[in-house]
């Protein structure tokens, strides 16, 4: 049966659901590689599957069959793909190609702009403090890349806090994290079902940088507290309530619990999840989970290839009979 051909279209939906729980359990660097590779492979598979649907439908069009000397009765016996499925697949495929092209153009422009901005900074330093009232810090990819911090944030942080923030941003630049997210979003443009995977890569590169900062400073709780402080500062609405509850508006929280308390962050946004992960023990490689995830991705790839071989065999057969 040709149901196998629908598997590469089905597994992305499964992967989209599994991405976030996987990211919470895997070591961030491994999670980033796995999810980025999975997004690319699954997007490739679903594209191949769509192309096959189009091809097998097109082979049944009398004019095409005539042209290629295919036997129509054989084709119909072997493949239930209707002309409508083929037409829909062709439409979706065209849309996907367009989406990838648009995403590529936008990202390339944004990256070029980033490189230009980074190059325009004439001073030798990697770290640039920008005047202004914003609470903002980011890594600007470039050659060399820069770390930009708003003056207000820079002054709000104490020395250990600055060290933690800079170590985090340096990890982004050194690890070229923007390439992982760019590749993941490009792949997700080809198959929007994979968007949760790309968004999860956004999260795992943050975790990757957090863990790097924790290693550099040797203090996981310092990094957790700094993230909390900056997040509160950056959220005007959170400030008054937070100020009343704890003194982390202008200073880093001093009494961070030694162990993570039993607070569920499964449905929280990225910042509480990052803080909770830093308050927990350092992540370890989880070989079984990693292997299982790799296996599922490879299964999707294999099924797409199998479907391709089936189709090829069918066309050969039809060609022979005629």
């Amino acid at each position: 049966m040709r149901l196998l051909i629908y598997l590469p279209l089905l597994i992305p939906a499964l992967a989209a659901v599994a991405a976030r729980p996987l990211a919470a359990r895997l070591e961030p660097r491994e999670a980033t590689w796995l999810l980025t590779a999975a997004t690319v492979i699954l997007a490739g598979c679903s594209t191949v599957a769509l192309a096959l649907l189009v091809a097998s439908a097109a082979a049944q069009v009398p004019a095409v069959a005539e042209l290629r000397h295919y036997s129509q009765p054989v084709l119909h016996r072997g493949d239930p793909t209707s002309a409508i499925t083929g037409a829909v697949a062709a439409l979706v495929l065209t849309g996907a190609a367009l989406a990838v092209a648009i995403t590529f153009r936008r990202r390339a422009r944004a990256l070029a702009e980033s490189y230009r901005r980074a190059a325009r900074l004439h001073d030798d330093g990697t770290v640039v403090v920008v005047p202004g009232p914003a609470v903002e810090a980011y890594a600007l990819p470039g050659a060399p890349g820069r770390i930009v911090i708003s003056g207000r944030l820079f002054q709000a942080l104490d020395e250990p806090g600055r060290t933690a923030l800079l170590a985090h941003e340096r990890a982004h630049l050194a690890g070229r994290h923007h390439l992982f997210t760019t590749v993941a979003y490009l792949a997700a443009a080809a198959n929007p079902v994979l968007l949760p995977l790309a968004r999860t890569v956004d999260y795992t590169v943050e975790r990757w940088a957090d863990e790097h900062a924790a290693r550099v400073t040797g203090d996981r709780r310092l990094v957790a507290a700094t993230i909390g402080q900056v997040a509160m500062l950056a959220t005007p609405a959170a400030r008054p309530a937070a100020a009343a509850a704890l003194g982390i508006v202008t200073t880093r929280p001093r009494r961070v619990p030694a162990r993570s308390r039993r607070i569920s962050v499964a449905w929280a946004g990225p910042v509480p999840r990052r803080v909770a992960a830093l308050l927990a023990p350092p992540p370890r490689t989880r070989a079984v989970l990693l292997a299982a995830a790799v296996l599922v991705v490879l299964l999707a790839g294999a099924s797409a290839l199998q479907a391709a071989r089936d189709l090829h065999a069918l066309l050969e057969l039809a060609h022979g009979i005629h």
């Binding site: 403090v129 009232p133 903002e136 890594a139 923030l165 923007h178 961070v256 308390r261 962050v265 946004g269």
Partner: protein
């Protein structure tokens, strides 16, 4: 012949009266740079007087530091009921245009790895519970 004399918006002081303001801004900046710590407008006023400058009114100093802050030359933080001001260094000033990097739309933001994103109200509550010893159920008193 057309009238090309400068026109002023209502309430705008004429050019001659504005010129000293530029010099005053430079003086205020010099005082803040020499200080090394954030200064309130009152402290700036005292130090200007100590440097042998003519006495300025408190409101004039407030106006000058506010203008410098608006230009992105000074950072400020809350201090009591007002603000304390700190100058930003030359390298930072050269990078003033970088502020705009984050205004460039979703894709421009996407290539920048920001340290944190904003918090929703719920996230702020979860974060507070994560980072404090005393849970909300425990009474601090």
């Amino acid at each position: 012949m057309p009238d090309d004399s400068p026109r002023h918006a209502l309430g705008e002081p004429p050019e001659a009266a504005r010129r000293p303001a530029g010099a005053l801004e430079a003086e205020v900046l010099a005082v803040l740079r020499a200080a090394g710590t954030p200064l309130s407008p009152g402290q700036v006023r005292e130090r200007l007087a100590a440097r042998g400058q003519r006495e300025l009114s408190y409101s004039t100093v407030v106006t000058i530091v506010s203008r410098l802050h608006a230009k992105g030359l000074l950072a400020r933080e809350r201090a009591g009921r007002g603000f304390a001001y700190t100058p930003l260094d030359a390298a930072s000033l050269a990078a003033g245009q970088m502020n705009r990097a984050l205004d460039g739309g979703a894709d421009h933001r996407a290539v920048l790895s920001r340290f944190v994103s904003g918090l929703s109200g719920r996230d702020a509550r979860v974060l507070r519970r994560l980072l404090t010893d005393d849970g909300p159920e425990q009474d601090g008193g």
